[in-house]
Symmetry: C2
Subunit: 764 residues, 2 copies
């Protein structure tokens, strides 16, 4: 039989079913709450009822005496983890203890925890813990919090956690050349991740003093290191085990309080403990998207070219930092890299308030930035009478560009995305109709090859091909629902020239699956790159065995569709399984390929904002058609066209899944989502009854997902990240469409019916 690789892919670009489809469809996937360990206790945490208060005393005596209670802990049972040295770039945990000792800083801040034989007993014990507080007035508004005389939330002179001031080009000169200057202020909301699986974990200490933890994390290796630091033990004494994860969206990126609390409970009780949050706890504790106030001033020439930009950003940090400093950095550098503008100044402030704290969330600051920049793009277009699509195309980045803060644009399909999204929505035909129908468009740039944060975006993979020719992939990559296991499977299968049916990912276990330190959404790029390199190394070993068996020069051999063939004659020589069998059972050599993806050290400077952030960038444009009822303010999203430059669609079905999923989160961000607080700092809508995420019926009837393949030279088979861009342009596209439909410009998220009605009837 003859065969030949003709440049085409057999596995990449194919719509193979998700490798975890069967176990998830059949209910066999094991999430943390499905796992039970013999003797396991159940944990619960006591939370502050006050947004801002000093802890005077905590009396746990009665709780400890309740039958069935096996451990009660407070912060005094823990090491002072604030002193641990964390990454200087991301000083997570420098202002937070797992259980607070001196002060509480938001309603829900944890002060004590109980482990008992069942959850009911644990919860009853919580009621028996007597905490005395000295209550302070809460600081809820970030702008007021910045004022010099505001009550101080931490033991610092100011409630400004960090501030940054980036300045590129000649900002004054730029504005001097501008024909128009636009100044607008935008506000975004307190979006919650709303993962279907709440946070939780099971912690068990071994006889050997090692901690094994089954946790709802999205990044096992980093998590292992962070948890070890907070517990004050070597990271090799923490073993993180695989579970299925029910969504992450950034909420499982940094260590949560739940894990150290659970570990301390298990240690004190001497038994394994499960601690899983309920939905109410999840809403107030899962590190929301930071609400942002973005004041943006843009100088534009007559022809629509943006010549200068100045922005002031205030991120509402909530009570603690978590990843806030890094989010602020991203917001600022995005403002400096969006479109071709070279003269940019950004002043950014991360401000403590007595509310649940922010963290990583899909887009990592970008949806906030995009809402401001892309809304203003339409304001500009309308004012200077250029079509919004044309205005974007005029200013869009091109391959080879270097942005103001030093991002080197390589593969770039931004213009193609804008053109294709506009064409797909029927832009020319539908724009400026008068029947309360409108179309809008928005675009974005996002890091497409990971986000360098300290030692992050480093991945090792091992591909073992067993004696039957089946491939097993060891990588620290953790499937969180986005389909990364399937993508890695396809990459390895393609590289090895075998069927994805004989490629399997090994269960994640930090003891044996190698490190994967990541940030952002670069699984395909980073873990995929490592897996491809490892598969390539394994392929060489297979071909070496085949060359030995057949006495042929290895350079004359290749693999396709499970067969080793002669490159010159195109003749199939033998199946991979036979070569593998020969290597193991005659030569005695296991086939084990090693691969690494290493971006090298961080190349940007948080102080100045300068430097390459990611090895490559992804782009997208989304266009939408809406209809608005001015009388009641109801916005109906009719259709979306989403064009995404993700380099290469490794699996188009899953890429579309990412786009549609992100779109849903973007629609929620645009129209309905956001935590609301009363004057005491209490969340008013911490349930799915009151916090409205889009349901199936809220989604547009038609979603046209378009993959723009720019084949990035550094990505595995040309692929770049996709998961985050899918929600970045959604909200401003809708805001722009609303303007097109009924002529009102809403600058604050969510765009509720009340705001639309008010703008339509009162402001205009």
């Amino acid at each position: 039989m003859k065969t030949e690789r003709k440049g085409q892919h057999l596995v990449i670009g194919k719509r193979i079913p998700r490798v975890d489809a069967s176990e998830k469809a059949r209910g066999e996937a094991r999430f943390v709450d499905d796992i039970t360990i013999p003797g396991m206790l159940y944990g619960a945490t006591l939370k502050s009822p006050y947004a801002h208060a000093r802890i005077l005393s905590i009396d746990t005596n009665k709780a400890e005496k309740l039958p069935g209670v096996k451990a009660v802990i407070t912060g005094k049972d823990m090491i002072d983890s604030k002193r641990c040295i964390f990454s200087e770039i991301v000083p997570v945990w420098e202002d937070k203890l797992p259980l607070e000792i001196e002060k509480v800083r938001f309603i829900g801040d944890e002060v004590a925890a109980v482990a008992a034989v069942d959850l009911k007993t644990a919860e009853r014990a919580l009621e028996l813990i007597d905490v005395k507080y000295e209550v302070f007035p809460p600081v809820l508004d970030p702008e007021k919090s910045m004022e010099a005389n505001s009550p101080k939330i931490h033991d610092k002179d100011s409630n400004i956690s960090i501030e940054i001031h980036y300045d590129f080009g000649d900002v004054e000169g730029g504005f001097g050349q501008a024909d128009y200057t636009f100044e607008d202020s935008f506000r975004t909301s307190h979006q919650a991740h709303c993962c279907m699986e709440t946070h939780g974990c099971i912690a068990e200490w071994g006889d050997d003093g090692r901690l094994t933890i089954w946790a709802t994390t999205q990044r096992a290796s980093s998590y292992q290191r962070e948890l070890a630091k907070v517990l004050g033990i070597p990271y090799s004494d923490v073993r993180v085990m695989k579970t299925s994860v029910g969504g992450s969206f950034g909420s499982r990126m940094s260590l949560h309080t739940v894990e150290p609390i659970c570990a301390y409970l298990a240690k004190k009780a001497g038994l394994p403990v499960k601690l899983v949050y309920n939905r109410d706890e999840e809403f107030v504790s899962s590190r929301t998207r930071h609400p942002a106030i973005i004041e943006i001033k843009t100088g534009v020439k007559n022809d629509g070219i943006i010549i200068a930009r100045e922005a002031k950003v205030i991120l509402d940090n909530g009570a603690y930092n978590d990843l806030g400093p890094k989010v602020l950095h991203e917001v600022a550098t995005l403002l400096c890299s969006y479109y071709k503008v070279k003269n940019v100044r950004v002043n950014g402030y991360l401000v403590y308030t007595n509310k649940p704290y922010g963290g990583a969330f899909r887009g990592f600051g970008n949806p906030e930035v995009a809402f401001a920049v892309e809304s203003q793009m339409d304001i500009i277009a309308n004012k200077i009478n250029i079509d919004p699509v044309e205005l974007r195309l005029k200013n869009a980045s091109d391959p080879g560009d270097v942005t103001a803060c030093g991002w080197e644009i390589t593969s770039c399909g931004l213009k193609e995305c804008i053109e294709k999204a506009a064409a797909a929505i029927g832009w020319e035909k539908k724009r400026r109709r008068a029947n309360n129908h409108g179309v809008g468009i928005a675009a974005c740039i996002h890091w497409g090859g990971g986000l360098r944060v300290g030692e992050s975006d480093f991945c090792i993979a091992v591909v073992e091909v067993n004696n039957a020719g089946q491939a097993y992939v060891f990588t620290g990559e953790k499937e969180v629902g986005g389909g990364s296991d399937t993508i890695i499977t396809q990459i390895v299968a393609e590289e090895l020239g075998i069927s994805p049916k004989v490629v399997r990912l090994m269960p994640l276990d930090t003891d044996v699956t190698p490190s994967f330190l990541f940030a952002g959404s670069p699984t395909t790029f980073v873990a995929g790159g490592a897996a491809k390199a490892a598969a390539s190394d394994a392929k060489r070993q297979i071909l070496e065995a085949a060359a030995g068996m057949k006495a042929i020069n290895i350079k004359e051999l290749d693999i396709l569709d499970g067969y080793i063939y002669d490159i010159r004659s195109h003749m199939k020589l033998l199946p991979v399984s036979e070569a593998a069998h020969f290597s193991y059972e005659i030569m005695g050599i296991p086939i084990i390929g090693k691969g690494c993806f290493n971006q090298g050290p961080t190349q940007y400077d948080m102080e100045t904002g300068r430097g390459q952030l990611s090895p490559t960038y992804s782009f997208a444009a989304q266009a939408v058609e809406v209809t608005v009822v001015p009388e009641n303010g109801v916005v109906e999203v009719l259709e979306f066209a989403c064009a995404h430059d993700c380099g290469m669609g490794i699996n188009p079905t899953m890429a579309e899944g990412q786009i549609e999923g992100g779109l849903a989160q973007g629609i929620g961000y645009a129209l309905t989502e956001g935590l609301a607080f009363n004057n005491d700092g209490k969340a008013l809508n911490s349930s799915f009854t009151d916090y409205r995420i889009p349901r199936a019926k809220d989604m547009p009837k038609k979603i046209n997902s378009i993959i723009v393949e720019t084949k990035d030279s550094k990505g595995p088979f040309g692929a770049k990240a996709l998961g985050e861009t899918s929600m970045v342009p959604t909200a401003p596209a809708i805001a722009n469409a609303i303007e097109d439909a009924v002529g009102v410009r809403i600058k604050e998220l969510p765009i509720t019916p009340e705001k639309v009605v008010k703008a339509f009837y009162l402001d205009s």
Copy 2:
């Protein structure tokens, strides 16, 4: 800090606790019967009530209709696995179907099986299966079975399954030179393994057509291949998973009927099935030790030198072959290699009878041989008036010897074993006392580096050292209770220069743990050798990282006690964990060592008996003191001295455990064990009430275990096999001590009180 390797071992030779001690002591080890899979059914098999009958019909209609029954199968649901090509050397399964179709050949032969929602329903369904038989007279006596006119058990002209005729040197000439000729006939018994865990498995078929099986096997890789052949599927479609195993002693060496039956049930039911034997089933189905009739004629010179030997061996095969042909071969070659005799002839016959069939059992034919040879040694010594110890020393093998059939003796501590055992028991002082006390001694040779059977005794290991310097060992070795996991751990720790506490064995899973094809008891030698090689390869990679970090030539570095040190200055440079971290997280190179132990192809010829059987040989001598009450025939074993040349005691505590455990089995073999059958072929004592294995109180008060370290050049750190020699000389040592005590020679096992009394009062 200074350090230096001074030739001494830090881990080898140390009495570290078993690595599985904690989980077993705490009841956390998971045996097959501890495992439950959602939706799992329970299986049961229908067995023949006749020892010899034709199956006329099997009606399963009523059973199938019983509520709760999910699958009923007979042999007709299976492929004709007799046609599958098995190893030509070990033609297991060539005469057996998992469920018989045409004939049944022993009471307990399986003819049908049921899977149901619970065991009670499955057993009720068995009662509803109507099997019609045409009953034949059973053939129970192997000597009668050999006769030409005996009823034929298989569709063959003779009930002799195989026969072998080995002839070395000049046998007639040898006997011509002999001053004395001895002719004796010995009979050994039908010993059952009596593992605490009965046979069983769980079989589950995946959506992908692959079978996953949790089974009580002792050799996963060979088992995977055998099961696949019997099922007619590629071996890559069978995945064998780790379980704890409650003893094996050879009973789990070849595939059992339970596994293919269970696999077929699971396939037909479309659900996982558990099939576990009860104790009664275990007794009749677990492949016993073959009862042997050994007629042995030995020519001896005046000075005690053995000049010629001739033997006829009849092994009672039972109904099917299993490993019987290979056992017969071992029996014959042992008779040709025992002591220095060069002129040897052996005629061996493996004879079918209508009884449960034999298979592999600790010693693999050697306890049978030893009972004959070592009993006769004392008969000779007494006759020609040489001390039995001296007679053995005169004829014992030396290093450099090549036996009659071609075994090359390298390391050999046989003489030292004999001397040390005799000295330890107080031979000179206790011999020939008159108070019904007696001492006896017996010695043995056994393959010490594995037993080449086709592709067996080949092992690959992978040692992965993770980024924290912890080592993980991937090997197909399966702990069956003997402590091999601990031995492998010590070997890897010693080779890497790290603590055994940071070495862990990965769970066995034939998909990812490499092949280990073995026979005999060579785990230390074969798997240990592979693990040592893999650890050595990993060590090189660690040193490469350290050399890179410290800019030192790798040749100047070594590892001891977890630290890399400079060989010249003896200065500790850095911990292994740091070098590992550097390799992974700076160099991006995982540390993965590969190692293989490969004996190469079989070097002996089953036809002639000639050739090297094993890369090395182990030796032992056991001396015992007994007291005998002639009036009731009761033999009390007072004390044992066991000297074993196992090359090197990797873990002396575990070596002693092997010796003491084997001794118990040997004492049972000598005095109490053996299945008995009535005239219908029904086992009369298939329960622990009636089948007497030694209990703690039956063991001698004193056991003196002596390890003779000969440091074999091919074994890992000098080690050779030990597990089997521990029971080989036990029975003849006891028989010889009884003779010393009361002057009677019992030539048939077990040596029951009845036989002693009869010999004392009637025969003498």
